[in-house]
């Protein structure tokens, strides 16, 4: 499968602090990679390096020629000082056919508030408008930086569900920074655990059992993740999932089979 972006041995130094250390990462077609890590782990910096905002101090980033990236930032602080409707914002500095626009609007379900000023939209509505804007470019890769961080739990669920649907239907690649690993567990194909350097990576169910993951997030987190894992992937073992929450040893033995 064709590689969209690849980073090899990328290091970034800011104020004589190594923010990213020897990162090698590849994003291929139809990948869904979630980057997790504690605050200050350099997650946003990694995204920005991959998108070419900053040149790495060491190593290099290459992307496929003509690669189209759709970027969904963490949040949009819509200032009421600037009068602009959501519709205008969606198409601001973007040329797209009426057809594409129509398709994206129905896909992201933003039509009901398109004519409202941007500054009155709720957090969830704003994120959907941002997602719509990213999709207008017909991207090969969606890059999302904690897209649901400022949403309530219902909003988070709805957003990730929408993202999953878009991923499935469009066959694009997704590279996302997210703290909500439990919510994207079923969508994401690969998890990269970042703490300035890549601690561990792989399929979600493997990563959550990695000693590095456990040392970074603690055993409770790892166990919580494992329980989500069961719910999403082993539907026929639901009873053992319930069991595992109450019995630690049972959980760890079950994980070997998974």
């Amino acid at each position: 499968m064709s590689v969209l972006i690849s980073a090899s041995h990328v290091s970034v130094v800011r104020d004589s602090q190594e923010i990213l250390k020897d990162i090698s990462l590849e994003v291929s077609e139809e990948d869904f990679i979630t980057i997790i890590g504690p605050n200050g782990a350099g997650k946003s910096m990694l995204l920005k390096c991959l998108m070419g905002f900053y040149a790495p101090d060491e190593g290099h980033v290459t992307s496929r020629k003509g690669l189209k990236i759709g970027y969904v930032p963490q949040r949009l602080q819509a200032e009421p000082t600037i009068p602009i409707t959501s519709r205008r914002f969606l198409t601001l500095r973007r040329k797209s056919s009426a057809e594409t626009l129509e398709k994206v609007i129905s896909e992201t379900e933003v039509s009901s508030f398109l004519d409202k000023p941007l500054s009155v939209l709720s957090g969830g509505q704003l994120q959907r408008v941002l997602l719509a804007r990213a999709l207008l470019n017909e991207p090969d890769l969606l890059v999302l930086d904690e897209p649901a961080q400022n949403l309530d739990i219902t909003g988070q669920l709805a957003f990730y569900k929408l993202l999953d649907r878009i991923y499935q239907e469009r066959g694009l690649s997704v590279l996302m920074v997210s703290h909500d690993l439990h919510l994207v567990m079923s969508s994401t194909k690969n998890v990269v655990c970042l703490s300035r350097e890549i601690c561990c990576h792989g399929e979600p169910r493997h990563v959550t059992k990695d000693p590095e993951f456990i040392s970074l997030f603690g055993p409770d987190m790892a166990q919580l993740m494992a329980s989500y894992q069961h719910r999403h992937h082993d539907h026929d073992h639901d009873h053992s999932h319930v069991h595992s929450l109450t019995d630690k040893t049972e959980e760890s033995s079950a994980s070997h089979h998974a």
Partner: protein
């Protein structure tokens, strides 16, 4: 009423209003009012250096203010001090050094008040060339970069991800502001320039639903303020620069609550 000096004053004032309105929208959207004020303060140093070296004071102002802005951008980059602290240092340093340089020049004819509050009735044909030459440059560049600037104002990283060279566009905005400051000094003076950028744009905010509409409306309100200010000052024999700003303030004070009523 159509003395040549009034005609020149009106022509200069209209030119400045037309560029200050749209550019002022960005000052309002991006909270750059204090920055604009500081740029204007640094202009005095430009005028002083222009007098000492003999180069055109408007050109001197553009050069010094641009240098001032670069220095600010560089200091901001170090992130050790907050922007308003840096502006507080740079603006008053430039103002003071400008006064010191002027005292060395020992120019007896120098009328400080006309630089602080403007002296639109002494506008010369050469000043008009600067206003309209600079004005066309500003409007063309602003127009060409309008969408990028607006997107950056809403979300800078988003613009960057979509291919906007944000560093250069930011720099461009600063240079455009220095040009407006430089050509506006004759009209309203160093101390009042920011008001010409901010007040018409703030007045326009509630009346428009699109960024472009607000820019056009701001130019229109600026125009109204300049014309009524100049006529008012001629009629009432009041200082012209402050009269223009007073007119702009009256417009704002009347129209702001009216817009609020309309919105209900």
């Amino acid at each position: 009423m159509l003395d040549p000096f009034i005609v020149r004053a009106l022509a200069a004032g209209i030119g400045v209003a037309l560029i200050a309105g749209p550019l002022g929208c960005f000052v309002v959207w991006r909270r750059m009012a204090y920055f604009g004020d500081s740029l204007a303060h640094s202009a005095l140093l430009g005028i002083a250096l222009g007098m000492v070296t003999g180069i055109n004071p408007t050109l001197g102002t553009i050069l010094v203010s641009t240098g001032f802005a670069m220095m600010l951008l560089w200091l901001q980059h170090t992130r050790i001090l907050a922007t308003d602290t840096l502006l507080g240092i740079l603006a008053h340093a430039a103002l003071s050094i400008g006064m010191v340089v002027l005292s060395f020049a020992g120019n007896q004819r120098f009328d400080l008040q006309s630089y602080l509050f403007g002296d639109i009735l002494t506008v010369t044909a050469e000043d008009l060339y600067w206003v309209y030459g600079g004005g066309i440059v500003v409007l063309v560049l602003l127009f060409k970069n309008w969408l990028s600037l607006t997107l950056m104002t809403i979300h800078e990283d988003l613009a960057r991800a979509e291919g906007v060279k944000t560093f250069w566009v930011n720099l461009l905005l600063v240079v455009l502001m220095t040009i407006v400051v430089a050509v506006s000094i004759r009209i309203v003076g160093i101390l009042l320039i920011t008001s010409l950028l901010v007040i018409p744009a703030a007045t326009a905010r509630q009346w428009m639903k699109s960024p472009e509409g607000m820019a056009i409306m701001a130019a229109f309100f600026g125009l109204l303020a300049v014309i009524s200010g100049i006529y008012g000052s001629a009629y009432l024999d009041t200082p012209t620069g402050p009269s223009i700003v007073t007119a702009a303030t009256i417009l704002f004070t009347v129209l702001f609550p009216v817009a609020a009523l309309f919105r209900r």
